[in-house]
């Protein structure tokens, strides 16, 4: 099994004719994703990597009904595109772009809630059910099937850790990127509850970072509702307070969201916290 996405999931690519959109459509097809259509206003009738392009999401849904959409849309236009996808009935919307205004993100999340849909991101690499399908921009070759579920706030650091797992011949069920922004659709606890219910997932890796309270909330959830072993790595141990380290989330303010508070919360929930990224694979091996 896999969570959120599998080889049957039908996917639309919004912004398919752009540089990123067309490149990653090719990459996703190569990985096995069912890309059934693309959307690019004014470019209807064209084809990208053999995929038919439509002018609107509604037009695409008439001809090629889909469950999921992935957006390669410049940030100022992302709200419009995301609301269009949700309005047209897509149930999983993956927001790749970074720099989407916070208020736009909040409006997208409110509408998704009303539509009972799942939003991943913004500012995410997407998600991949290894060996089945990916809706995202992660490098294909590191994601091989196996028993570990991975959920991460950051992208490249997640590749790093999955890379170590792959080198150790440990594969993954599903890998989910939550996104680095302050307001994102999926949170740790949403994904943890899915991994807990997924019979193929035997262990869970959580990749977090300083700032916000997502790791503390995850800890409380794990303590109460997760029976599977969880290994964590947290970035930002050396970050000075009050400095913004790139992600909107990666900032420590008012003594909250610190490295120490997160490690304490996770440890209290029985999570093993790795000191270095390359220790994660070894620690996972021990619990499998």
């Amino acid at each position: 099994m896999a969570i959120y996405v599998n080889e049957k999931t039908r996917v639309l690519v919004q912004g398919i004719t752009g540089k990123q959109g067309s490149f990653h459509t090719g990459q996703m097809l190569a990985y096995g994703t069912q890309i059934v259509g693309g959307v690019s206003p004014g470019k209807g009738g064209q084809k990208v990597e053999g995929v038919p392009v439509f002018d609107t999401v509604f037009a695409a849904m008439e001809k090629e009904p889909a469950e999921a959409a992935i957006l390669f849309i410049p940030a100022p236009f992302a709200r419009d595109a995301a609301l269009e996808a949700l309005n047209a009935g897509l149930k999983l919307v993956v927001l790749i772009p970074e720099h989407i205004p916070l208020h736009d993100a909040m409006e997208i999340m409110a509408y998704a809630k009303a539509k009972n849909a799942v939003v991943v991101g913004p500012n995410t690499f997407g998600l991949v059910s290894s060996g089945r399908s990916k809706i995202g921009i992660m490098p294909n070759r590191y994601f091989i099937p196996g028993p570990v579920g991975v959920v991460s706030r950051s992208g490249t650091l997640c590749y790093e850790i999955v890379g170590h797992l792959t080198t150790g011949e440990i594969g993954t069920t599903t890998v989910v990127g939550l996104g680095g922004d302050r307001v994102v659709g999926l949170h740790f606890i949403d994904v943890l509850s899915q991994f807990e219910a997924d019979p193929d997932t035997k262990a869970i890796v959580l990749v977090g970072e300083i700032g916000g309270s997502a790791e503390e909330e995850a800890s409380a959830f794990i303590k109460k509702s997760v029976s599977k072993p969880v290994i964590a790595y947290l970035a930002g141990k050396s970050a000075p307070p009050g400095k913004r380290m790139g992600h909107a989330g990666a900032i420590i303010e008012r003594g909250r969201g610190t490295f120490a508070s997160k490690v304490k919360a996770l440890s209290a929930a029985g999570v093993k916290v790795a000191a270095l990224p390359n220790e994660v694979a070894t620690m996972v091996k021990e619990v499998l």
Binding site: Q20, A75, P76, H99, I100, P101, L102, H103, D104, A105, M106, E107, M109, A110, Y111, A114, F125, I137, M138, P139, S152, S154, G155, T156, L157, C158, Y159, E160, G163, G180, R182, V183, V184, G185, H187, V207, E209, I210, G212, S213, A214, E217, Y233, A235, G236, K237, S238, A239, P240, K243, R244, M245, G246, H247, G249, A250, A275, L276, P277, N278
Partner: protein
């Protein structure tokens, strides 16, 4: 982007929120003129730093002459590294009680949240959790009167004060929404004989939404290097160490810093040059780092969208054009790794494959290990 207090108060005034009478000035003479006609005045340094009061950046005067002397003193000050060049001179309020009121973005609830407390003032951060009311706003319906009534009930306020809140809070919410604010905070919100007055204004605009607010002045209190990095759209933060670090992605860049420290090294900076940068931008990022005169350069690349050959090419380009004579520790894996390694090999650099090896080597090169 944080707004100066006086700009925040101008906004408040535009939206009908009462603020003290006053003027922004930049010389002692102007301060004296601004104090004319007001009884007691408060003189507040306009810098983007909290704790101005505790640092001596806020003063009182009871005559124009005194205002001039005080202004002279504060204008020469440096507050938490920021030089004071503007003052806000305004009437001293007769404050009966200091409240706290803010609207910000709640990441856990994915929506705006109202924060309100009867215990406003300097130590609001230490207010007990049960004394700080938190009310999430469903952004699809916005701020409604019933919400304010409920917030007032939880605060335990009624009568005239409740009436004022019902007029006050929706105005603050309108500012929050219209300006794409991350934070709209009033601390203290003063209860005076004439009603509620915003004695301070802290408004932070979402940087990602600034393109929608071109009428706002550009406010930057950053070092020259940080400004340069911003021009290049790089996430850059200066630190105190001697190992210059460049990586792709905020998470992995932070992890690189952590590992450097784990092995006893000291990072000189945080530089995330993002994903998918081309040769030119990568070269600019490198140039910027070299300008900081570090002892060792550590480059950590895990290519996804970022291509290893592009990074290697940019490195060679900079090396050849300006000469990189400091020791370099390079880690290069991911997309187009082989091509990237070949390019580096031509200039005699053997890239590591793991982050751990590259960091340890960098720390060794500084002589700290």
């Amino acid at each position: 982007m944080k707004l100066y207090e006086y700009l925040g108060k101008e906004l408040f005034r535009d939206y009908g929120i009462p603020v003290p009478r006053g003027k922004v000035v930049s010389s002692p003479e102007e301060a004296a003129a601004a104090a004319e006609g007001l009884a007691d005045v408060v003189i507040k340094s306009q810098v983007l730093s909290g704790k101005r009061g505790k640092a001596g950046g806020i003063s009182f005067a009871s005559s124009p002459a005194e205002a001039k002397t005080e202004a002279e003193r504060i204008l020469k000050m440096e507050l938490n590294g920021l030089v004071v060049d503007k003052l806000l001179v305004e009437e001293k309020l007769s404050i009966e009680q200091e409240l706290y009121l803010a609207i910000t973005v709640d990441g856990s609830a994915r929506c705006p949240v109202v924060l309100a407390s009867l215990d406003g003032g300097m130590d609001v951060e230490e207010v007990a959790e049960e004394r700080m009311i938190k009310w999430p706003i469903d952004i699809s319906i916005g701020m409604q009167s019933y919400m304010v009534r409920e917030i007032c009930r939880q605060l335990g306020i009624s009568g005239n004060l409740q009436k004022e809140f019902i007029s006050f809070l929706p105005k603050l919410y309108r500012i929050f929404r219209a300006l794409d604010a991350e934070l709209a905070e009033i601390n203290p919100l003063a209860v005076t004989p004439d009603g509620l007055v915003a004695a301070d204004a802290k408004v932070t605009i979402d940087d990602d939404a600034l393109y929608r607010h071109s009428s706002l002045p550009k406010i930057k209190e950053k070092t020259a290097l940080e400004l340069k990095a911003e021009e290049l759209d790089l996430a850059y933060v200066e630190l105190d160490g001697n190992i210059a670090i460049m990586a792709n992605g905020a998470g992995i860049t932070m992890a690189t810093l952590d590992i450097v420290q784990h092995y006893g090294g000291a990072p000189a900076n945080f530089l995330d040059f993002g994903g998918g940068a081309d040769v030119e931008r990568t070269a600019q990022a490198l140039e910027l780092l070299l300008g900081t005169n570090p002892k060792v350069l550590l480059i950590n690349i895990f290519g996804g969208i970022t291509r290893c050959d592009v990074v290697a090419e940019a490195f060679v380009q900079v090396k050849e054009s300006r000469g990189i004579d400091l020791p370099v520790s390079f880690r290069l894996v991911g997309t187009n790794e082989t091509e990237g390694r070949d390019i580096l090999a031509k200039v005699g650099i053997k890239a590591f494959t793991t982050m751990d090896e590259a960091v340890r080597h960098a720390v060794e090169l500084t002589g700290a290990a």
